[in-house]
């Protein structure tokens, strides 16, 4: 049941998406590189590898990294 809550929230949000969004001429702010969802992919990859090696969780944002992470 606990796992269904985020899914339901996601579906509700998607259902409400008809009222969201902007017109093409309103994208000046969204077009800035610092507003890109993956604005710093290298920082993110480095962080993911560190946390993958030190914690039991990985991925979520994208795929988990490769490697042993044994130490």
């Amino acid at each position: 049941m606990k796992k269904l809550i985020p899914v339901s929230a996601l579906l509700l949000l998607m259902g409400g998406c008809a009222h969201l969004g902007v017109e093409p001429w309103q994208r000046d702010v969204l077009a800035r590189p610092d507003m890109a969802l993956d604005a710093n992919p290298l920082d993110a990859a480095i962080d993911d590898h560190i946390y993958f090696s030190k914690e039991a969780s990985s991925g979520g944002r994208g795929f988990g990294g490769g490697g042993c992470g044994c130490n």
């Binding site: 985020p6 969004g21 507003m35 890109a36 992919p41 290298l42 979520g60 130490n71």
Partner: protein, 430 residues
């Protein structure tokens, strides 16, 4: 705004909506965009140190076709907790190679300082539009360590909806890893043997990992974009850490049972190698919001993860990019907490039947972790950018008091971790 700036902004806007990285940067017409980093990572108490160099290159072709390449090289040295408990006396262990011993000081959690590793990792991806609303991409990844090899392939399909305000993506990745530890992989729950004895070692092992991610990116308003991911991951095969052990202890004192090593040298206590299940299924929900406050950008995310090993975790991450002078500062905070795996044990008790699975790896235990960091980035007139980032990470573990036996209660049983990492970055176009 001139035409080139506009073209660059539009290209970046497309990427923002597609939820992909931003290949067309301020330098606009330059076909290659390179992102480089040098990372220095250091843990307290002479534990792991890593020097890492990474480069990400993006080549943009006509019609929004994009080639992505990444290369990373790491050099690791230092010491890592073996899983054995602390005792008041020094402890001697056989090193993973089986050819020597090492001795740790009394009163502290034993660290195995025999590892030294170099890792090379690379990946390549190709992304292109398919029709007006679809984007497809495919990629390969590989990494190499002398005791570990990884090979993976991935593919993804995205579709835009609602004037490109919403992008739904489905991605899948498969990987096959070969594990060939120093001295051979030990048999699960077998005892650590004397120097030169190899009766508890097996041949090389492998594991397969299958990942799938369903992602929805949504523009909420002219200054806000959100993303939700559901990720599923299934690993099967050899999932042990071949270097981790557990102490076998006296049921009353909680101290490690002693043994007499052979003349060639060997452990002076009873230790067994860990045993994990041969499959693991993880699921995670990830949500992220990015909001512009008149030039200042907040990025906040939350992830919930749970797996069939009994581990559940929450991760909250926030960074705030604030223009300063000709550049920007970006403070960062991250909070993480996880519950322990069902088979996490501080130690095993002598005389009791061995459980099927057991691990004393602190990364499978219960702990909280906090990261605080600060980044400064400085764009140059050429459109290139340099940056420096400093982050501090602290882990604080806890063990259910019911697991502690005798003297263990008055000793340190969780190897709390403090790490600092410093990263220099330079981004440029070619």
């Amino acid at each position: 705004m001139n035409g080139k700036d506009l073209a660059s902004l539009l290209a970046t806007a497309t990427c923002a909506l597609l939820g992909t990285s931003s290949p067309a940067r301020a330098e606009g017409e330059k076909p290659w965009s390179l992102d480089t980093a040098l990372l220095l990572y250091k843990e307290s108490d002479s534990r792991v140190q890593d020097v890492s160099a990474a480069i990400g290159a993006t080549r943009r072709f006509a019609d929004d076709r994009v080639l992505g390449l990444n290369l990373t090289a790491d050099t690791l040295t230092g010491a890592s907790p073996s899983g054995a408990i602390a005792l008041d006396r020094p402890q001697t262990f056989t090193s993973p190679s089986g050819k020597a011993t090492y001795t740790t000081v009394g009163g502290r959690i034993p660290l195995d300082d025999t590892f030294k590793d170099t890792r090379f990792a690379g990946s390549a991806s190709w992304t292109q539009p398919m029709g007006r609303l679809y984007t497809v991409s495919g990629g390969l990844s590989a990494s190499y360590e002398y005791d570990y090899r990884h090979f993976g392939a991935n593919a993804s399909l995205s579709r835009d909806f609602d004037r490109r305000n919403r992008t739904v993506s489905l991605s899948a990745a498969w990987s096959k890893d070969d594990i060939d530890p120093v001295g051979g992989p030990p048999l699960p729950l077998s005892q650590m043997l004397d120097v030169g004895a190899t009766g508890n070692k097996a041949g090389s092992k492998s594991k397969d990992v299958l990942d799938a991610v369903l992602s929805v990116a949504q523009v909420v308003g002219h200054d806000t974009v959100v993303r939700f991911n559901y990720a599923y991951s299934r690993s099967s095969g050899y999932l042990n850490d071949p270097y981790k052990i557990l102490s076998v202890v006296d049921p009353v004192t909680g101290d490690t049972s002693t043994r007499t090593p052979a003349a060639t040298g060997g452990p002076d206590g009873v230790y067994v190698f860990e045993s994990r299940p041969d499959s693991r299924t993880k699921q995670s929900f990830y949500g992220e919001v990015k909001h512009d406050f008149d030039g200042r950008v907040l990025t906040a995310s939350y992830r919930y993860m749970s797996d069939d090993w009994g581990i559940g975790s929450h991760t909250v991450d926030a960074r705030f990019r604030w223009p300063l002078g000709g550049g920007y500062v970006e403070p960062h905070a991250r909070w993480y907490t996880q519950t322990a795996a069902d088979f996490y044990r501080v130690s095993l008790v002598r005389g009791q039947a061995l459980p099927q699975y057991a691990s004393a790896d602190f990364r499978l235990g219960e702990f909280d972790a906090v990261t605080l960091g600060l980044k400064y980035g400085h764009p140059l007139a050429s459109g290139n950018e340099w940056s420096v980032r400093l982050e501090g990470y602290q882990q604080t573990g806890s063990v259910p008091s019911g697991q502690l036996i005798g003297n263990q209660a008055r000793r340190d049983v969780t190897p709390d971790l403090t790490a600092v990492f410093l990263q220099f970055g330079y981004r440029f176009g070619l």
